[in-house]
């Protein structure tokens, strides 16, 4: 049994199937970073650090030289939630309308944390975000989404000018994404399609991102390393509910800071 202790939970196979499938369904649309950056792993829970391939000299004993390897420790993220035991009992009776509201909220929280770490950064975890690490000036996105294609085209031009090959992808924060979805340009052409043509790559809904970020999705620029991939574990139980959690471990590093342009809200 792994550290997730799932076997100790008072949950039947049908219950676990439902919880896992609900979590996958909620997480997949929200995990924007994984749709745009290189993903490696999962390496397992016991994997603790990403090799940075560098060493720093340290004071050696007399007559020797010494250096210490540099690594990026993985961050562990956990989002707790509970499920009523009465709801779990209903799953086994074949209920289709089980209340998994807390699981859905936990999935949203952990997806936002992952996206925010990748795009905005997480100083305490030693993670520099794409939007803060870019060497290019940011472009103001504004609220007039008719102008979005122009801003995105400017960002793409900037990347091309810096010698960063496409295709390019766009992570759009929720507010900007809603505006884009609601807008048709003159002649009824959806703005979404216009942006996709400018980019030549994917456009993703990115909760946790402020504004938007244009990135090269050519590969080799942004590196997400998964230790333990997203999993549900067991915490405790009482007479009314089972306490569970969503958990993952990961690191993120940037090989090519110039391969992105931030579009500020």
């Amino acid at each position: 049994m792994s550290h997730l202790l799932r076997a100790y939970a008072p949950i039947t196979e049908a219950g676990w199937d439902l919880l896992d499938s609900e979590a996958r369904e909620r997480l997949t649309p929200a995990l924007a970073a994984r749709k745009l950056v290189d993903f490696s792993g999962p390496r397992g829970w016991s994997y603790s650090a990403t090799n940075l391939g560098r060493a720093e000299a340290i004071d050696p004993p007399e007559g020797l030289a010494a250096a210490q390897r540099r690594v990026l420790p993985l961050v562990e993220v956990r989002a707790a939630f509970s499920v009523a035991r009465s709801e779990l009992a209903d799953v086994d009776r074949g209920a289709e309308d089980v209340d998994l509201g807390e699981l859905d909220a936990a999935a949203q929280r952990i997806a936002i944390a992952e996206n925010a770490a990748v795009f905005q950064g997480w100083a305490e975890a030693g993670i520099a975000g794409i939007a803060e690490a870019t060497t290019h000036d940011s472009i103001a996105l504004g609220e007039d989404c008719e102008r979005y294609p122009r801003h995105v085209a400017m960002a793409v031009d900037t990347l091309r000018g810096a010698g960063v090959d496409g295709p390019y992808g766009l992570a759009l924060g929720p507010e900007a994404h809603t505006r884009v979805l609601e807008t048709s340009q003159h002649g009824g052409y959806p703005l979404l399609e216009h942006l996709r043509e400018v980019l030549g790559g994917p456009l993703v809904w990115a909760p946790g991102v402020q504004g938007a970020v244009v990135v090269s999705v050519g590969g080799g620029h942004f590196l997400f390393e998964s230790g333990q991939d997203l999993s549900i574990g067991y915490q405790s139980q009482d007479a009314d509910a089972v306490q569970l959690y969503l958990e993952e471990s990961f690191s993120f590093r940037i090989a090519t800071p110039e391969a992105a342009v931030a579009l500020t809200p």
Partner: protein
């Protein structure tokens, strides 16, 4: 392996599966031969005879290793698990458990069905953009 040694009707098996099965049989035979030479050397009093047996056993080590490498190249999941166990210091059983868990999770991240792992198997989502 005789013709009756397949567990499924031979005519229904793809060529690559039959080749894989033949090499599995060879692997087994080489392992048996290694064990037999080990026993013979343990009871043989003649030093020169033991040296010949040791040389012959070395051949079997080579054959076993070649068979194994072939099979690992043909089965990525087996290779992945073997990489976590072979030539590692420390607790073999622990390495085995960890290697299996990590390898099956990686399979899931590539879209293969999850077997043995406990993660949600979400992994890499490039290609899933809206």
């Amino acid at each position: 392996m005789g013709f009756d040694s397949y567990h499924e009707p031979a005519a229904e098996l793809p060529d690559e599966t039959r080749t894989f099965a033949r090499l599995c049989a060879s692997l087994t035979e080489e392992a048996e031969a290694i064990g037999w030479y080990e026993q013979r050397m343990a009871v043989e009093p003649d030093r020169e005879a033991r040296a010949i047996m040791r040389d012959a056993q070395g051949e079997e080590f080579k054959h076993f290793s070649m068979d194994l490498e072939f099979l690992l190249r043909r089965n990525p999941l087996w290779r992945e698990i073997a990489e976590g166990i072979l030539f590692q210091e420390g607790d073999i059983v622990e390495h085995g458990e960890e290697a299996e868990e990590e390898a099956t999770e990686e399979e899931a991240s590539r879209g293969a069905p999850l077997s043995g792992g406990e993660s949600l198997g979400i992994g890499d989502l490039r290609g899933h953009a809206s």
